[in-house]
Amino acid sequence: MADGIDPLELMPVSRMARPLRALLRGWAGVVLGFLYLPIAFMVLFSFGESRTPGLPFRGPTLHWYQEMLSNGVLMEAVWTSIQLAAVATTLSTLIGTMAAFPLVRSGFRSAGAARIVFTLPIMLPGALIGIALLIFFRRALGVDLSFWTVVMGHIVFTMPFVVLIVSARLQGFDRNLEWAAADLGASPARAMRHVVLPLIAPAIVAGALISVTLSIDEFVITFFTVGPQSTLPTYIYTQIKFGVTPEVNAVATVLLLGTVLLLGLAWAAAGQARRLSRIFGRRRARERIG
């Protein structure tokens, strides 16, 4: 694909390959459409005139975007949520990835039981975990609630996802690769960095993405472990008496655009960096030879 030549031209394939690929491509399109359909409506409602987001659509207006910008509590809540998701995800991914190795490799006799214990936080309702942590933090540890207590709360229920997905990937990992690296003189740490981690990177990234997704909209555990602060989910889910206004839609739209922009920039930067390193690498090699 990277060379522009369709691999199906080169491989000996069955008659089914081409229609199959077309079918799968169509399915991928359907799936993406399905995923974005509600998003399209969510964005649409942010431009609606009525105080209640929904159909029929009348507008468009930028009124709610203005409201959003002047809503200090909402803006703070968004910022807190972003920080929370970033910190909790980083820690959770780190801790979870580390834990996956001994779980799969050390031959712990109780590894199977450990895995079931890891599934427990997913099984129990967030409300239970939230109340338990509140009581634990305040009565057993005697700490004030703060940003860090929420982070800990989020780590509890996101880390199992990381552990499960990374350990699934590690299972059946071809150890010959590591042993080959050792034969070529690499220390265990080096083999780790250059052989193992790159190969399990998709699992780590997937775990991190799942953690962010879970953390960014978590309400119940957050409510019970947060100090005197607002987060976006607590802001949204507490509008019970009068309902959410399209301000919230506006925030969601802006966040979505912001995320896409950020990721786009990061991707472009990564592409540039790769190109630059290739150029400089070639130059350095030429200098060495010539």
Binding site: T52, G54, P56, W148, S187, P228, G243
Partner: protein, 368 residues
Amino acid sequence: MNDWYRDVSRRRFLQVSAVAGAAVALGGVAAACTTGASKKTGTFNWMTWSDHYYDTQLDEIKKAADIGTNISELADNAEGFAKLKEVTGQLDMLSGDALWVPKNFDEGLVEAFDINSLAVSKQLYSIAREFEIWTKPAGYLGYPFGWSPIQIAYNPKFVSPAPDSWEVLLDPKYKGRIVVENQPVEVVAYMAKLAGIKDPYNMTDAELAQAKEALLRLKPNILKFAQQNTDTVAALVSEEAWLATSNLGAEDRVKDAGGSDVVTFIPKEGTIGWMDAEMIVKGGKNHDLIMPFLELAEQKEYIAENFIKYGRPLFNEGAYKILVDKGEQERADRYLYNKPETVLTMTLKGPGVSTDAAIRVFNEVFGA
């Protein structure tokens, strides 16, 4: 070939653990320092609903008196109570409904104060300063803010004759056309009201059985349970629902969202309702900021603006006059603003003896 972590010697392991432990300890110290710092800048911690304030109001108060607020959101009285029970002094002010206020006081979580010591309290309707349930020998339990009865809203295009009772919700004509709030104890209380039960939050077993019977008849009529008022309004606008229970203001919100005219009424058997107040937390770290804050925040100009923004009656009489001057009288009167005595005719929300039993009844009816 070892795994990368097997090569770690015991000494290295202990070194790393020591460093990690020191880092955690430092982090803890840093956190403690920052919590201490907030006291000096004059900020207090307030857990409340988002309609109790608006941004410009808080900014002006900050500028005028250097009192800032850390707002954390409140979903439900029960959850707020549970949280306050554990965090105590970390909060300074908590908003709460009706009978939850004395409940918080009885548990030693909030304190009574002399409401007349606040000059701004003179702007309140006198009835608001004398609610029996909020009066204790030690003083008043909360600074009154707003209130609302639960009304039934209906679409006259589909609902006739014009209803005046809870009974209309059970009418088989309206199968699958009714939206009620997702609040089990309250829904059971509506049915209790219909059955003529005096105290829907403290029912006997016999009374519960009556309520359950009504609930069974209500079940087929329900389209869905509203998580938020947004659900209710959307259903009325799209005309999927013809009847709904809601706080005041449903007809305006439906109109604003492009729906047809909806009529609201308070059922003749009486209704449930809430009235909320700001409670002062006992032992709050920034306790001394509360009274000066209330003195400013509860001024009639702010309250009038709040009404225009959120549309439900408030206890500030001075604000009513401002609303009349601003041409909002029609809306204010429709929302019973100048009739705060209505509160005394409502059954007020709060914890009760039959809470658990009501939930069980609800689950039995609406579970599989």
